[in-house]
């Protein structure tokens, strides 16, 4: 765990608190929020690997999330095997899908790339919804709860540590991208691809690598999510809203910073929990009101604080050091 100490203290505080909390707090509602914060944070960190570090902004990452979720759910319900094997299959499939998306990223830039990723997730959405015989179509699949580690039937405390493990894995990958040779080369490709190529950096291969890595991590979290929530359905797991959510946490927290996605996740998940409590009386209103605020936040943040929460923190630190 030396990467935690070597990097900023902020990460130590965030992950340390998450690790200690279940020892003190036993409230199921609170622990549920914590699991979701960690899982959404891990997913945004996975998005950040492609979107933030490699500059390949995708609005179709729900594809990989859905592949992971469906692989785990189908492995349990159709083949009677454990969700871990499903997670592995999901990762393999996502690596394949990541290669395709990565290949697209070599042909397409900016808005074109974002559009192609949306189209990709829509193709999966339609395919999974229509292939009723295998995927149960639009009805979705309830995932049975079987206690035990092998079947991922954990209690709340167990899930906090499982989500924390996923969060640390994604964070570790981000830190690697900040400190390794590959990470520096990716930053070069992101800032100026032509210049990077002129220096002999294999830009195309690196982009495919980053997108594929990001896809595999997203898929792992998708499998965990399916087992945690216990239900998968195509319109949610392949939705554009979900893809936007991955990006939103990372943008609000700070794109291309290791801790940013987790900060964004804390803010957005708490906001969601708070609004759910506030508007629980309103029947259809909750989801909508929450998403209106989240869309508005997205517009305001990209315009006024494009560097995100992590950027504000860095700016404050710099000012203090200066004074």
């Amino acid at each position: 765990m030396s990467f935690l100490v070597r990097s900023r203290r902020g990460a130590l505080v965030v992950f340390g608190l998450a690790a200690v909390t279940p020892l003190v707090v036993r409230d199921a509602y609170f622990l549920d929020s914590l699991v979701l914060i960690l899982l959404w944070g891990a997913l945004s960190a996975a998005w950040n690997v492609a979107g933030g570090y490699a500059g390949q902004v995708s609005i179709g990452h729900a594809s990989f999330f859905g592949i992971g979720a469906y692989a785990a759910a189908l492995m349990v319900t159709r083949f009677g095997r454990g969700p871990w094997l499903g997670m592995l299959v999901g990762v393999v499939l996502s690596i394949g899908a990541g290669f395709i998306i990565g290949f697209l990223s070599n042909r397409l830039k900016g808005p074109y790339f974002a559009l192609s990723t949306i189209a990709f997730s829509q193709v999966l959405l339609i395919g999974v919804s229509r292939w009723r015989g295998f995927t149960a179509g639009g009805e979705g699949i309830p995932v049975p709860f079987r206690p035990g580690f092998a079947t991922l039937g954990l209690g709340h405390v167990g899930w906090v540590y499982m989500a924390l493990a996923a969060a640390l894995l994604c964070y570790r990958v981000e830190v690697y991208l900040e400190r390794s040779r590959i990470g520096y080369q990716l930053a070069g490709v992101r800032e100026d691809e032509d210049a990077a190529e002129a220096l002999g950096i294999p830009a195309r291969r690196l982009k495919v690598f980053a997108v594929t890595l990001s896809a595999a991590l997203t898929s792992v979290c998708g499998s965990l999510w399916a087992q945690y929530v216990g239900f998968v359905d195509p319109t949610y797991v392949f939705s554009v809203d979900l893809s936007v959510r991955f990006a939103l946490n990372a943008i609000i927290g700070g794109m291309g910073t290791a801790l940013g996605p987790y900060l964004g996740s804390i803010l957005i998940t708490l906001l969601e929990t708070y609004l759910r409590a506030t508007f629980s009386g309103v029947k259809t209103g909750f989801a909508g009101i929450y998403l209106i605020i989240y869309g508005t936040a997205l517009i305001l943040v990209v315009r006024f604080v494009p560097e995100g929460l992590a950027g504000i923190a860095a700016r404050l630190r710099a000012r203090r050091a200066h004074a």
């Binding site: 042909r107 990709f120 794109m255 909508g288 998403l291 997205l298 315009r303």
Partner: protein, 304 residues
């Protein structure tokens, strides 16, 4: 299929019917896409919220029909000034600040706008599927061996008339020339004394007016719900990319191609799968012809 059956009289009838369906659908898609291609060509902004303005147009048709029983094809003409103002407001409140920002900022600003509009509709009008059923929807017209309904034909005629007037506006009016000049070279246009901010404002308002009117036109033909815009926006991107971003005539041709793929796909494989075809077409076009079928001016600003 048995080759002997391939070109019997029944098959020719089917082909004629498919061709008519393609043209009717293509005309409507063209109106949706010209607004998008106009905004892109002049402002260099890909508007991810385009479909949501279409959805608002559909709701306008639904409510005026449900509350006051006004025919959608009367509402169309009211919707143009209404959405012109909506476009102006969206430009001033949201788009103006990011017009010179990076692609990522523009993508997420319009994505954010799309999320907000969708959910305003969800909160205000719930997620129920709603239907607009004017009398002409059940009126069937026959020409030779082909049949189609009156609503489709009227929607097609209005869409084509609006699209042609927009193209004419761009070609022959002073404002249109100014807009095209800005599209060709932002900096040179500024040096010639063109107020580019005003041009962008007008462009966005016209683009939104076109798509809003298109929303009213398609309302009787599809169900109305908060995320109804998504399928149309993705489709209009296919159209716009096929025709070359910013090319209005290309967009009209692209609409016909997409309509043909959709009509042929649903005939051969069933309507359940029809959307998957234009998404696959979309990815293929993006990969193999990202600059459009006829090449494209302004492609270099997007690094394609």
């Amino acid at each position: 299929m048995d080759p002997a059956r391939l070109l019997g009289p029944a098959q020719i009838d089917v082909l004629a019917q498919l061709a008519v369906a393609t043209i009717l659908l293509g005309g409507i898609y063209a109106l949706i896409a010209v607004g998008l291609t106009l905004i892109f060509g002049i402002m260099r902004v890909v508007n991810f919220a385009h479909g949501e303005f279409l959805m608002l147009g559909m709701y306008l048709a639904f409510w005026t029909f449900a509350l006051y029983s006004v025919d959608p094809y009367v509402v169309v003409f009211v919707s143009i000034p209404v959405f012109f103002v909506v476009g102006l407001l969206s430009y001033v409140l949201v788009m103006r600040g990011v017009i010179h920002a990076s692609h990522n900022v523009q993508i997420f600003t319009t994505v954010g706008l799309s999320v907000v509009l969708q959910n305003v509709a969800l909160v205000a009008w719930s997620g129920d599927f709603r239907f607009v059923r004017p009398w002409h929807l059940s009126t069937v017209l026959r020409a030779g061996s082909t049949t189609f309904n009156l609503t489709q034909v009227v929607a097609f005629l209005i869409a084509v008339a609006l699209t042609i007037s927009l193209v004419a506006f761009m070609k022959w009016t002073h404002a249109g020339r100014v807009m095209r000049a800005t599209a060709q070279d932002r900096d040179a246009a500024t040096l010639m004394g063109i107020d580019t901010d005003r041009v962008y404002r007008l462009t966005f308002a016209i683009g939104i007016a076109a798509v809003g009117a298109a929303g009213v036109l398609v309302a009787p033909l599809y169900s109305v719900y908060p995320t109804a815009g998504l399928q149309f926006v993705l489709l209009s991107y296919v159209v716009v990319v096929l025709g070359g971003l910013g090319d209005m005539l290309g967009a009209m041709l692209g609409s016909l191609i997409v309509a043909a793929v959709e009509v042929a796909g649903s005939y051969l494989f069933g309507t359940a799968w029809k959307e998957i075809f234009y998404f696959i077409l979309f990815i293929l076009v993006l990969v193999f012809r990202p600059a459009g079928l006829f090449g494209q001016r302004g492609a270099e600003t997007l690094g394609v």
